[in-house]
């Protein structure tokens, strides 16, 4: 339990750094730390396949994309302060804790279901084999739709980032 607390602390700290650090590059690095923490949580939750996917796809591929764009754009670090910015910021700092309070209330008041499912884990729980079986039996249509989504996103990204000759 101690190690879970430590990971939770690191996750929340890195999330705060993502939001509040001025440099986008440092934000990207702390986001990778946050994603690795969540991958470790997946390991504690018997989700080995998701642990691997989180590290490979999220911390690997998607974050490389972010690092690449941050490097490419060479952004100026300071963000200009516009009229109304202070009010928006103050409202965000009020709304954030309210959101946490609402979510925590909902989580505490939900029915406890641990007693209803006392059984242990099936031997394949969280493995690639069982997820694959679910994906290709129960969720086959959704899986195909996801593949179409990825193709559309790929075409869209190419079209959007293309340099127009005119």
């Amino acid at each position: 339990m101690l190690i879970i607390n430590v990971i939770a602390f690191v996750a929340i700290f890195s999330a705060l750094m993502v939001v509040f650090h001025r440099s986008p590059m440092v934000s990207v690095v702390f986001l990778i730390v946050n994603l690795v923490c969540i991958a470790l949580f997946f390991l504690f939750l018997h989700a080995q396949f998701l642990f691997a996917i989180q590290l490979i796809v999220y911390a690997g591929a998607i974050m490389v994309l972010f690092v690449f764009v941050v490097m490419l754009l060479n952004l100026r670090q300071e963000e200009e302060q516009r009229p109304g910015w202070r009010i928006q910021r103050a409202l965000a700092f009020v709304a954030g804790p309210l959101l946490v309070g609402a979510l925590w209330t909902a989580l505490w008041r939900r029915g406890r279901s641990s007693e209803a499912f006392p059984g242990g884990f099936s031997s394949g729980f969280g493995t690639a084999e069982d997820i694959g079986r679910l994906l290709f039996n129960d969720y086959l249509f959704q899986f195909e739709a996801a593949s179409v989504l990825l193709v559309v996103a790929m075409i869209g990204a190419v079209v959007l980032a293309r340099r127009r000759e005119s």
Binding site: V19, L73, V100
Partner: protein, 99 residues
């Protein structure tokens, strides 16, 4: 135990991501905060999968990751296109369709 603790952590992470979307003006950081929120939701899914001994939530996480990858690719494509046009990745500079 772990299944009541982790959703609380996920709620905090989600709120931090929401605050980031509201207060940051850099489009790339806003996209990163959206990734933060998606990951908080994934963590909640995973802890309920653990509590209910059901693997359907793992499939949902798989799809959330798919959508996040698509969203990151298209979002960063839009950021690059806007930057090329206006030399800025500030979300307040892109207000043609605001009202």
């Amino acid at each position: 135990m772990i299944t009541s603790f982790l959703p609380l952590v996920a709620a905090v992470l989600f709120a931090i991501g929401a605050i980031g979307v509201l207060i940051r003006r850099n489009a790339i950081v806003v996209l990163m905060c959206i990734e933060l929120m998606l990951n908080a939701v994934n963590l909640t899914f995973a802890s309920y999968a653990y509590e209910l001994r059901s693997m359907s939530a793992h499939v949902f996480i798989f799809f959330v990751m798919t959508v996040a990858a698509a969203e990151a690719a298209v979002g960063l494509g839009i950021v690059i296109a806007v930057f090329r046009k206006r030399q800025s990745a500030d979300v307040d500079d892109v207000n043609l369709m605001r009202w």
